[in-house]
């Protein structure tokens, strides 16, 4: 959730933040153009550069939140309309030299209450991930290579929830158009990392604040698979936009998952010591 984006936890930053900002400054302000002038320029062979510039600007606007906590309720809807729910809390510590650290603790369904997931995202290579299983009182390191699998039975894949680092995709600006009355940039992005479940995605950022309004996910056969929408954005600390509602609809199997967010709290003073595999047994 570092940027106005469907990111829940984890980050992998391939270049340090200052490098991205320099890159953004170059792309946006080269030739003396103001940011929005550059972004409004004509398409064509500049479409890749413009797509990248939009992604960088969205990333830049969410930099420096330090940490946050939030509560989330997940509603899973099957194709026949039956529902099941998950409830969890999440704490995120923004990474400086390396990726973010995050901690998820489930409280519903009750049979997995107290189950905790600790993730250290890394600039390079796989993330480190530990799970705490309260019934066994056991903390286990688990493999984090599985990006395309469903997260706790939902329509969100793990890779949909990871904060989308700029460097993990290549970009192509498609067009500017309105989404629900808001002027937006439509940008196609193609995963540049291994094990993605997608051929490509189309992301709509609103032109005013560079928040993600909608994403369409195309499967490996390039068929439209899922549509994500984020809404009810609120601004925190006068700068960081977070949506209160996210909806993921699977267009191939008619299942959907809603994420409803509340109790966002920023700058809680978390430090690295808090995100320790030996502490996740006592967080329920």
């Amino acid at each position: 959730m570092k940027k106005a984006n469907p990111a829940l936890f984890s980050t992998r930053r391939i270049a340090p933040p200052w490098a991205k900002m320099i890159m953004a400054a170059f792309l946006l302000f080269a030739g003396g153009h103001a940011a929005n002038d550059a972004l409004a320029g004509p398409a064509g062979k500049d479409a890749a550069g413009k797509g990248l510039a939009i992604a960088i600007e969205a990333d830049r606007r969410d930099h420096g939140f330090k940490d946050y906590a939030a509560d989330m309720t997940m509603t899973l809807r099957s194709s026949n309309g039956s529902e099941s729910h998950r409830r969890l809390s999440i704490k995120v510590l923004e990474g400086r030299d390396d990726g973010d650290k995050s901690l998820i603790v489930f409280s519903r369904p009750r049979d997995i209450s107290g189950t905790a997931l600790l993730t250290f995202a890394h600039k390079k290579g796989n993330d480190d991930q530990w799970i705490y299983l309260p019934a066994l009182k056991r903390v286990k390191r688990i493999s984090s290579t599985n990006r395309s699998g469903a997260f706790v039975g939902s329509e969100f894949a793990y890779e949909d929830l990871i904060r989308p680092e700029v460097e993990r995709y290549t970009y192509l600006w498609l067009r500017d158009e309105a989404v629900d009355g808001q002027p937006a940039h439509a940008v196609e992005r193609t995963p540049a990392y291994q094990n993605s479940g997608y051929r490509r995605q189309i992301v709509w950022y609103d032109q005013a604040e560079f928040r993600v309004l909608r994403i369409e996910f195309f499967d490996r056969n390039n068929a439209l698979l899922k549509r994500f929408t984020a809404s009810d954005y609120q601004k925190y600390l006068g700068k960081y936009w977070r949506p209160a509602l996210m909806i993921m609809i699977n267009l191939q199997n008619d299942k959907s998952t809603n994420l409803s967010w509340k109790n966002y709290e920023f700058k809680n003073g978390y430090n690295n010591a808090y995100f320790n595999k030996n502490r996740i047994k006592n967080l329920r």
């Binding site: 099957s78 209450s113 796989n126 390191r141 688990i142 395309s148 706790v152 039975g153 595999k277 006592n282």
Partner: protein
């Protein structure tokens, strides 16, 4: 005391479960119950209280079991009853708690803080609450734990006429202790654990009354034989290692123990390889293999894991019901005895979960430790309601 100082968040949770065990075979001993269907009931409420700041926690987890056919399996325990304070770099816990050490799946080699609740399940996954004072220190080089362990807990054993008892009845009421202070002997343990890159590393030492009893035989007044638990003072130094990379997890845990015959070692090592998103369905299939070794002599408590190979799988469907299926086989390289286990579980509804557990024995020769269990294959259905 102001109410604000007392508590912030209270949570009452836990579960109640109805259980049926099906035993298809007759017993080895005519004195044992030969019922093929054996019902039981479990109640495990949980109370979690956390102070406003999150620095203090109080946890109470009582446990009650009622079993129709095994009077010793009808038992109660305080799984947990503790207060814990978390400081910046340290934590202190006082009370009854359960602590798990180790990485292997087929055998929990180094796990020693808690006594095994053997009547609950023969898999040694269930543990009795252990009285302790646990000081934890979080340093840059890892986490240090120091434990003072008070109030020894006897291992639970099935009743004389119960299933899964073994070859002979066990005189669980009259154990023999090496420590003159018997159950009041204070044990201690130290542990250091850390994670460095792809490695998880732990080193531990335990001194005190070992949780595993020797089982020498004695004669009862009526001239029949029985096992008598003998608990010895031991020193056990343990190591656990895990290397996690891509879809591979490599594991090794082992100990060196003194105090039960000559010093001996035990090891479990192997791997888990996961095939993610099988057939594009989101299913994850983990394939496991472990080698189990133990060079204890005949004086020490008996073990079946002297030279065994474990093969297993773990299938997670990643569906809304949270369906998981685990299965495994343990093969003894010398006696050729084999045992098979299966565990499966899924949510039937928001608060309901069904678990199935099965254990089967195959070709158990008379010299194998499992000989006394060879006709106690079972299938268990457990329906739990969470609250």
């Amino acid at each position: 005391m102001a109410p604000a100082a007392i508590a912030a968040e209270w949570e009452l949770a836990g579960f109640a479960a109805a259980e049926l065990r099906l035993f298809p075979n007759s017993t080895i001993d005519a004195a044992q119950n030969s019922e093929t269907v054996s019902p039981a009931f479990t109640l495990q409420p949980e109370l979690h209280v956390q102070s406003d700041s999150g620095s203090d926690r109080f946890v109470a987890i009582p446990f009650l079991k009622a079993d129709q056919d095994d009077s010793r399996r009808s038992h109660g325990d305080l799984r947990e009853l503790y207060w814990r304070r978390q400081g910046d770099a340290w934590a202190l816990l006082v009370g009854l708690n359960r602590v798990f050490w180790g990485v292997a799946e087929a055998r929990h080699v180094i796990d020693i803080i808690n006594q095994t609740d053997q009547v609950e399940s023969p898999f040694a996954e269930d543990k009795l609450g252990q009285g302790m004072l646990n000081l934890q220190y979080f340093a840059a080089v890892g986490t240090f734990d120091a434990y003072l362990l008070t109030g020894f807990r006897d291992r639970t054993f099935p009743d004389d006429d119960a299933r899964l008892r073994g070859l002979l009845p066990i005189d669980a009421d009259n154990p023999v202790f090496e420590a003159s202070s018997r159950r009041r002997h204070v044990d201690w343990a130290l542990r250091w654990s850390t994670a460095i890159a792809d490695w998880d590393i732990g080193l531990s030492h335990f001194r005190g009354t070992g949780r595993e009893p020797r089982l020498p035989t004695s004669l009862r007044a009526d001239g029949t034989a029985q096992f008598v638990p003998h608990y010895d003072i031991i020193d056990q130094t343990g190591l656990d290692l895990q290397f996690t990379h891509d879809a591979w997890i490599w594991k090794l845990e082992g100990f060196s123990r003194r105090g039960q015959g000559r010093r001996f070692i035990a090891l479990a090592g192997g791997f888990e390889y996961t095939l993610f998103n099988l057939a594009g369905q989101g299913y994850d299939l983990g394939l496991l293999a472990e080698y189990l070794y133990d060079d204890r002599d005949a004086v020490a408590p008996p073990t079946r894991f002297d030279d065994d190979i474990f093969f297993g799988f773990r299938l997670a469907l990643n569906d809304a019901a949270g369906t998981e299926i685990k299965g495994g086989a343990i093969l003894d390289r010398h006696s050729h005895a084999a045992s098979f286990s299966i565990e499966a579980g899924w949510r039937l509804a928001e608060r309901w979960r069904l678990n199935i557990e099965g254990l089967a024995f195959h070709r158990i020769p008379a010299r194998d430790l499992l000989y006394g269990l060879r006709r106690d294959d079972y299938l268990q259905l457990q329906l739990s309601r969470f609250f």
